[in-house]
């Protein structure tokens, strides 16, 4: 048998590997992100939070990680766009009747849509926090007052609602994505898969609740 296969990364399975890898990387990032943000719950007028934010904004290694993070997100989104386009093309003529609900969950069929919502949220989120901090760093400001900024932003009910909607998209994206990544890597095992699925479920629920609790408590004035 001759080997007639093209490049790994241009194959459908290769692209999925990259999606899964970047997805899992983002999942790990979310843990770090949520943990640092949770420092607002010390409720110490943002002393700990500002300290961590300053540290993040002025640390070389973290800048490197930031670059990797952006590359990761870009790779995930680009592959998502390519794959979703190819998948659409694979069925040019739709069914007149399709009873999809009996064989799969709606969110597993809506990863492209959920991802697009996430991307829109991400852009807003960067505009809210990342851009102002970057500007401040460039202007040479040492004291960022990120905490005051945070309280300002989340006093706007519209922003709070948009953030909560973004988190709902994240919840469903992760409910499918977490376990899907392991299947993509070839990890499907009678003993371990139920564990991975449970872990994915609890990870998604906990991370989303933790994130959601931040704008809500700030909006309600519980964090000062």
């Amino acid at each position: 048998m001759n080997n007639t296969s093209p490049n790994f990364l241009t194959s459908s399975i290769g692209k999925k590997f990259l999606m899964g890898l970047t997805g899992l990387f983002l999942i790990v990032f979310l843990i770090v992100h949520a943990s640092i943000n949770a420092s607002i719950f010390f409720n110490d007028s943002g002393t700990t939070f500002n300290m961590l934010a300053d540290f993040m904004a002025n640390n070389f290694i973290l800048h490197l990680i930031e670059v990797v993070l952006f590359i990761g997100i870009a790779a995930h989104v680009v592959q998502a766009a390519i794959l979703t386009r190819q998948n659409r093309k694979a069925r040019p003529q739709k069914y007149a009747v399709q009873n999809s609900a009996v064989s799969s969950k709606w969110y597993s069929r809506s990863m492209g849509l959920l991802g697009t919502l996430l991307l829109m949220f991400l852009i807003l989120h960067l505009k809210n926090f990342w851009v102002p901090t970057k500007m401040a760093v460039m202007e040479g400001v040492k004291d960022h007052h990120t905490f005051t900024h945070l309280i300002d932003i989340f006093s706007n009910p519209i922003i709070v609602v948009v953030y909560l909607l973004g988190l709902v998209s994240l919840l469903y994206h992760l409910l499918h994505g977490f376990q899907s990544a392991f299947q993509t890597f070839g990890l499907n095992h009678k003993k371990y898969t139920p564990f991975i699925k449970a872990l994915g479920f609890w990870y998604s629920v906990i991370i989303v609740l933790l994130f959601a609790s931040m704008p809500i408590t700030i909006f309600l004035g519980l964090i000062k």
Binding site: S5, S12, N87, T184, N188
Partner: protein
């Protein structure tokens, strides 16, 4: 006869791959609940022929669930409302008197319509020809019995080999992905020592052909596994992903 049913069928008619098709409504009367779905089509076709109309073209062969020819999407599900069977194994008792039933062909860019409900599934054969076989001499039957194989592996290989190439997985998948089919064909050999020799080239070549045919990629929705008449499981797709990664790491 009492208990017989009158139904309204909406069936996809398309003269050729080059022409547009559409759903045409046909009433059928006095259908026995004990008929198979295909026998109901035979009755309808006899009516059409007696009226000098073109009979509906549909694929079928064994009519006992082993050849995989009877491709139809019935009311939005591959092979109809029951799981784990083919269309020829579907009985009219699964429907109620007065029901409207919509019947469409498999829809995928890689399975173009030939006529009406018949699609061209030779894309599967081209994938098979890239590696769905063992080209080394494995000896005679008693030689095979001399190679000890763990029972679990033998069972998993046998289960994968149950795939009849019907294409329901492709028809069901939102991406028209052929991963379950290809994974079954790859797994069947990957689990046995006779198949290991060519395992790396096999998985790479078959996946390359699968991509070239224009099937979509897998998003792990799991719909294929639910609609597969032979119960081919998602574990096979994971195994193929592993095999594919390992084969690519080798070079």
């Amino acid at each position: 006869m009492s208990g017989n049913m009158n139904l309204t069928l909406k069936i996809w008619r398309q003269n050729s791959g080059k022409e547009e098709g559409q759903l045409i409504t046909y009433p059928v009367k006095d259908i026995s609940p004990d008929m198979s779905f295909l026998e109901m089509f035979d009755v309808l076709n006899e009516q059409l022929v007696s009226k000098n109309e073109n009979p509906i073209v549909f694929d079928h062969d064994c009519r006992e669930g082993i050849c995989g020819m009877c491709s139809m999407v019935i009311n939005g599900r591959a092979h109809g409302p029951k799981s784990a069977i083919t269309t020829c194994q579907l009985h009219m008792r699964s429907f109620k008197d007065g029901d409207t039933i919509v019947v469409e062909p498999w829809r995928a860019q890689a399975f173009p319509v030939i006529k009406d409900l018949t699609v061209d599934r030779t894309a599967f054969e081209r994938i098979q020809s890239k590696g769905g076989f063992v080209s080394v001499n494995t000896g005679t039957a008693q030689d095979a019995n001399c190679i000890p194989i763990p029972k679990d592996d033998a069972d998993a290989s046998f289960n994968a080999a149950a795939c009849i190439g019907c294409g329901a997985c492709v028809a069901t998948c939102k991406n028209a992905s052929a991963m379950l089919f290809v994974a079954a064909k790859v797994s069947q050999f990957a689990l046995l020592p006779q198949g290991r020799i060519e395992a790396a080239a096999r998985v790479k070549n078959m996946v390359a052909q699968m991509d070239a045919e224009g099937f979509g990629s897998c998003t792990n929705t799991g719909a294929c596994e639910v609609e597969c008449p032979k119960g081919i499981s998602l574990e096979n797709i994971a195994r193929m992903n592993r095999e594919y990664l390992a084969a690519n790491c080798k070079d």
